[in-house]
């Protein structure tokens, strides 16, 4: 696994208190993370692309959120993230100024990776990295699985002309089968030279 610098990691911080947003931003930046702060769960959902039902290219490696907020709480945000197929593998950390064991357990059960008691300190920042790395490796695994699936679909292109297997091919594949011919070798030069995409 490649070792990447922390400055590549992007953290989304959610807190309704301006003071606390300033603090968490400074803590995260001191730890070399890229930071985006928002003041409500709805703004967080908007940023994550969960409000318009469309697929977004969001590159967030960790979400850290306050628990107690007016409107939707950090717990509500956690649930929405875990319900989303595209976002559920992003690690989520909950912060709270109150040490309520039942609250902490509820969050951990819902899939929160860590719980920080406020005020958050510099020493807490070290705890984030393992969760981000775990999230990254899950992301890589997913990508590898997707690539494997795509490669497995290639032999199917050869059999698409066989009426019985047409149903298993997506329209995209069918188009490919007629456009590019059935030889997998032909595809590689196409992707490596840019002019063929024009």
């Amino acid at each position: 696994m490649a070792i990447v610098a922390d400055s590549q990691y992007h953290v989304l911080a959610v807190d309704d208190s301006l003071m606390d947003r300033k603090l968490i931003e400074r803590l995260l930046k001191t730890s070399s993370y890229q930071v985006t702060t928002v003041d409500s769960v709805s703004k967080a959902l908007e940023f994550l692309g969960l409000l318009d039902g469309q697929q977004h290219e969001i590159d967030v490696n960790l979400i850290i959120t306050d628990y107690c907020m007016p409107g939707m709480t950090g717990y509500d945000l956690l649930k929405k993230i875990k319900e989303s197929s595209s976002l559920k593998d992003i690690p989520v950390v909950i912060m709270s100024s109150e040490n309520v064991p039942s609250r902490i357990n509820r969050c951990l059960e819902e899939g929160a990776d860590e719980f920080f008691l406020k005020p958050v300190r510099l020493s807490d920042m070290k705890k984030l990295r393992p969760h981000i790395l775990k999230g990254k490796s899950k992301e890589q695994q997913q990508q590898e699985e997707q690539q494997q699936q795509q490669q497995q679909q290639q032999p199917l292109l050869n059999t698409c002309s066989n009426g019985t297997l047409l149903n298993t091919c997506s329209n995209g594949n069918k188009r490919k089968a007629t456009d590019e011919g059935l030889s997998p070798e032909r595809r590689r030069p196409r992707f490596s030279t840019s002019h063929s995409l024009l």
Binding site: M19, D20, L23, R121
Partner: protein, 150 residues
Amino acid sequence: MEVVQLQGRLIEFTSSLFREGFLDDQYTQLQQLQDESNPDFVVEVVSLFFEDSERLLNDLTTTLGQQIVDFKKIDAHVHQLKGSSASIGAQRVKNVCVAFRNFCEEGNREGCLTCLQQVKHEYYLVKNKLETLFKLEQQILQAGGSIPLM
């Protein structure tokens, strides 16, 4: 006054604030987050604390002055005040907030009124102390010196 004298004064003064419980370790945390790229971080955060607190103290005074006291609302305000005072290390203010919340839970109006008085007192004390501290720092910087790390 010479830089060395000013620096000595600052060290003395800051030590006393910690010794007397006005500030706790969280203030030190803030100082550690300040550097050349963020030279005003502590002052900025503390200024936000002043703004937040004064707004909350006004709201608390109004809410406790009502005929029928909304203890839930009071508790919410005190919760916020407790949070922000804890965030900058204003220990005494935070401690009064803890007692204040207990009275809210009991629905004890007299207890709440006493706590409001106390928290105002502690707030203005720490505000005064911090403003003095920042002035001393400014004087040192203007005299060409640097703030001693404690």
